[in-house]
Symmetry: C2
Subunit: 307 residues, 2 copies
């Protein structure tokens, strides 16, 4: 859906600030608690937090993270799901979200309603209150940035650091073709899977795959080691080759390091019991040097921001 309207009467500018705020409260509905625990005061009040908290921020920008082919509702949902994927990558669960919107005055009220209703439906589904927000105007842009606060689901927060030489590299789901197939907005964030993996002591490090495995895996690779991937093992999405699986990005899957001492068959059996419809695939190991036949990731580049 195209975010802009040519008819002034259909634009957010014609609606005006006061009616717009009333409308977005209606669109958010139960997803947005009342002030001071939600939108409507200088700050929103959050409950005390006993354990470590998590915080992350990610945007969606027209022309970059979505285009006219993506329904407005899916844009709102994607914004929240991108951030949920970051929480999933550390084994977290969400507690609250705040939204900063930057809009051209010619954005249509219909598009904005779809965006908010999609965000609200997704927020209800994952139990995330949208507690705060800001709307600002800027010419020629439709962008939204969401900050998500969360908490660890278990006793530990799983970071990107912790992999060691010999550790197995595993990935959830399938990779590649995200833009072509619409996976980039249809995906389900791996919250349950992330929480489950964070409780497994043999899992040492984890992150989500957003810019493409070839690029993202660098952050999981300990200094002095390389990620030696087996091309034949890569769980490519239907119609995708190895390159697509490595560089397309927006997979929103989890990639993790599993201890070299782990009982891999036992982990695989437990995983299948917990998530029978989602693959967990061992795709390689962290090694001192690339063995013959392993993929040389230096030949691939994932998504580059600011290019």
């Amino acid at each position: 859906m195209h975010p802009f309207t040519k008819r002034h009467a259909d634009s957010v500018s014609a609606l005006g600030e006061e009616r717009l705020i009333a409308a977005l409260r209606r669109w958010l509905g139960a997803a947005s608690p009342r002030a001071p625990f939600g939108i409507g005061d200088d700050c929103a009040v959050l409950a005390p937090a006993r354990g470590p908290q998590l915080i992350t921020v990610d945007p969606v920008i027209y022309g970059r993270h979505f285009d006219d082919r993506v329904p407005a509702r899916a844009v709102g949902a994607k914004l929240l799901k991108r951030n949920l994927s970051d929480l999933a990558a550390m084994g977290g669960r969400p507690t609250a979200a705040v939204l900063a919107l930057t809009l051209d005055a010619r954005v249509s009220v219909a598009w904005l309603e779809g965006f908010y209703r999609g965000l609200a439906a997704c927020a209800r589904r994952y139990g995330v209150p949208v507690v705060g927000g800001d709307i600002a105007q800027a010419d020629g842009i439709v962008a939204a940035s969401l900050t998500l606060v969360g908490a660890a689901t278990g006793t530990r927060v799983l970071t990107r650091s912790g992999a060691r030489q010999g550790d197995w590299i595993a990935v959830t789901g399938r990779l590649g073709g995200s833009l072509r197939t619409g996976h980039h907005f249809k995906f389900t964030p791996r919250l349950d899977e992330g929480a489950w993996l964070a409780r497994r002591p043999e899992v040492r490090a984890m992150m989500d795959v957003s810019d493409g495995l070839a690029k993202d895996l660098h952050a999981l690779t300990p200094p002095g080691l390389v990620a030696a991937l087996d091309a034949a093992a890569l769980p490519c999405r239907a119609g995708c080759d190895v390159r697509a699986a490595l560089v397309d990005g927006e997979d929103y899957e989890l990639v993790l390091a599993v201890s070299a001492q782990a009982d891999l068959p036992a982990l695989a059996r437990a995983w299948r019991r917990a998530f029978p419809r989602t693959a967990l695939t061992v795709i390689g190991r962290f090694a001192r040097a690339l063995p013959p036949g392993a993929i040389d990731l230096r030949a691939y580049h994932g998504y580059e921001h600011l290019r």
Copy 2:
């Protein structure tokens, strides 16, 4: 300072993502802790919080909240200070910030360095770790949105609700002329004042003045009442008339409701001891109807978003 450069070699695009991220870590310096407590993982980890927490989000956008006359360093500082002012309005103190930046690829590295260094200096001054961030590209825009997490400084969080009929209306500092005088980026957020006022039981409600008193005061006014202001009492900035004080906006002062039963002279004495260089001025009362001579706020309009 103009954010854009015509020389590609001076642009963030020429720097590239990897070197840009290394540079911004350097620019943030001590203001940004290491992951997992800062930038560099899927989420940042925040410490547990015993009491209620506060959260707010506000942006700065080129052409709206700053222009070429504002130094880049001041833009970074303003972004944080706008959010600190929201915390101040509830009697809070900051605990962590996350930053979402949206940049045209032609933004100059020099401008961005100034922005980050100004933000970092302000963050160090107020003890706010910048724990997370995201940089995205979008044509023709320079915008940053900051989410600030905080905590109450005392036993209560002061909201916008709570004023009653007969309560006094008071305001800190001076109002009006913020754009003309540069106050809109030179101001000091009223954190100490806000914390002090939140500890005074006779203060019933509070908010900060950002869109102009004429507009903002609606949110502090209980249903069925009016804010009856005395024009002669308004603390206008030098060179400003009543209209400027009411509608200019970006004052970042605190406006509050003080119980009708309060000992106003005692409050004024205690205030002067605590803040000898800042005015606290009683400017009116909440009443059933406008008394003769009071300002009719309906004749004034503060800053309208999305006009």
